[in-house]
Subunit: 321 residues, 2 copies
């Protein structure tokens, strides 16, 4: 099997396993699949869950797209070449309960070819990040701990580097640099080298993808039955507004998709189901809402507060390298 086919297989296996684990924890809703074709080449499988016990709206989408390098791509992506290929998995899950965090994840491979169809460039990118509405420190430590454990199996420098990338990317710059959430990991433009070849980056993405389940599902299980008030829900919808602001104003992937004739419904599945925009909403001083805001304005080193017991637990949970 060539590397492209191997990557496609990884993406589709992750799509299946993640959908199954989300359906299992929801207990009611199932994913519905829309298969779509792209006029310029390729297509995708958009899988949507909605109105579940746990998940109000979510998408677990795969796409395999290719085509000629256009003028827009040359300018916006600053790439050369004649043809391109991209295959990736893109996930956004918006739970109903304000105590269950929203999660986003994306793993992708990009290839460029010359006019003799030879590969002239190739890179991997991806990451997973968490957007809670209320801060549970143990959840933040668990989530970051899983990704730290995965990263360390591949390169001891990865976690710090990719955690910082994530904190620096998901930022509402127009809101006093407030982060969208409590981060996770994010990497981009990772080109295979002798030391870290294509197989390495595929195994890394596969481990991170499997990590979605061990990082997220235990948090969902722990919080999904928590009772919540109208006020908690109101705050969730206010925060979802910030999610919309980031995705529509700053997210490179969303804007590139909107400006290059991507499949709109698949791209905008990321937007939350119900949202509020109040004028000048401010959480009360000392409230749980303000505590969340504080860590969004000042990202923390969650993995720095990890105990040995945590480490052993995560090593077991992330044993998929």
């Amino acid at each position: 099997m060539n590397e492209k086919d191997k990557w496609i297989e990884i993406i589709h296996e992750l799509q299946d396993s993640i959908c199954h684990s989300l359906e299992a924890v929801d207990g009611k809703a199932v994913f519905h699949e829309d298969s779509w074709q792209r006029e310029e080449g390729g297509g995708g499988k958009t899988r949507i869950i909605s109105n579940g016990n746990v998940f109000e709206k979510g998408g677990v989408n795969s796409s395999i797209v290719f085509g000629d390098v256009t003028e827009t791509m040359r300018k916006q992506l600053q790439i050369e070449g004649s043809k391109w290929f991209a295959c990736g998995l893109s996930i956004v899950i918006h739970p109903l309960n304000p105590f269950v965090p929203t999660i986003h994840c994306n793993y992708r491979m990009f290839e460029l070819y010359n006019d003799r169809d030879e590969v002239i460039d190739r890179w991997f990118g991806g990451g997973t990040d968490l957007t809670p509405y209320y801060l549970f420190q143990e959840d933040a430590i668990h989530f970051h701990g899983i990704y730290k454990a995965i990263c360390e199996k591949f390169d001891p420098a990865f976690y710090n580097q990719f955690k910082k990338n994530c904190d620096d990317y998901f930022v509402n710059w127009h809101r006093n640099s407030e982060r969208r959430g409590i981060g996770g990991i994010f990497y981009d433009h990772q080109r295979p080298t002798n030391e870290k070849d294509g197989d390495f980056w595929m195994r890394f993405a596969k481990s991170c993808g499997d990590g979605f389940i061990s990082a997220y599902i235990p948090i969902v299980e722990k919080r999904k039955a928590a009772s919540f008030t109208e006020h908690n829900r109101y705050w969730q919808e206010i925060r979802r507004g910030r999610y919309v602001e980031f995705n529509l104003v700053h997210d490179r992937g969303t804007l590139f998709g909107l400006k290059t004739n991507g499949r709109i419904e698949s791209i905008l599945m990321s937007l939350p189901p119900t949202v509020r925009f109040d004028y000048n909403y401010q959480p009360l001083p000392g409230s749980e809402e303000e505590k969340l805001l504080d860590v969004l304005l000042h990202p923390k080193e969650w993995a720095g507060i990890i105990t040995e017991a945590d480490k052993n637990e995560w090593a077991k949970q992330s044993n998929t390298c």
Copy 2:
């Protein structure tokens, strides 16, 4: 009184009269004013109404801002000069009842100075446009009729030209060129000439600003007590999602404000209070929702279906030139 002061007076008078007429038709909520200062020069008066009988959220904002021409302005606005001044009125009103349309309006003057503080360039811009959730043809004809009558008092070419500008500007290009609403008028970069001097453009903006009341308030009065269902409200929130998409992805004013340290809460007061983003929402064939969508995809010449009786009525209502 110099022209700058005259313009400032027009803007503040419009702000007052429009707030009064909106409060009167609401009957419950009143505007609350936040005065703000801008570090780089100037400030504004942001007036917000919320949770009224009729208006769920709205802002009637004035600002008088000035400063040095920055590198960002040189690039994004493609302007030369040493210092700048801008004064404008910006209104967005989101009613609760899905049968009452949202309205947006903006009137502004911009001046550029050289390093001896001499005016080297100056232009006027503005417009008013309507975003209904359900189409009432008589409302669309009334609204466009008022602005056509106002335009014709100033220049017979204005209405067609400014109506087309409006249809071409408020477009969700990523949604198959669906318009945000049924339009109105929009003009920009109107520089005083011998024939149409600064006084002309100020009188035009004042008439258009006064026209806000005669164009909008009768529609609000007619629709505000209409009973509506949860389904009507659901559709309104879906359409509000498109309003958010336009403002955050395409609106030049919003994006410029977000990227140049404008007052965020004043800029984003334009976003609707409650919003829904569903995956692939489609109105039923033949429904009232689909009828609206049809005119958003294919803008109509509303003023072309005007009767003589309408004309006389509007001439009376817009008698403020």
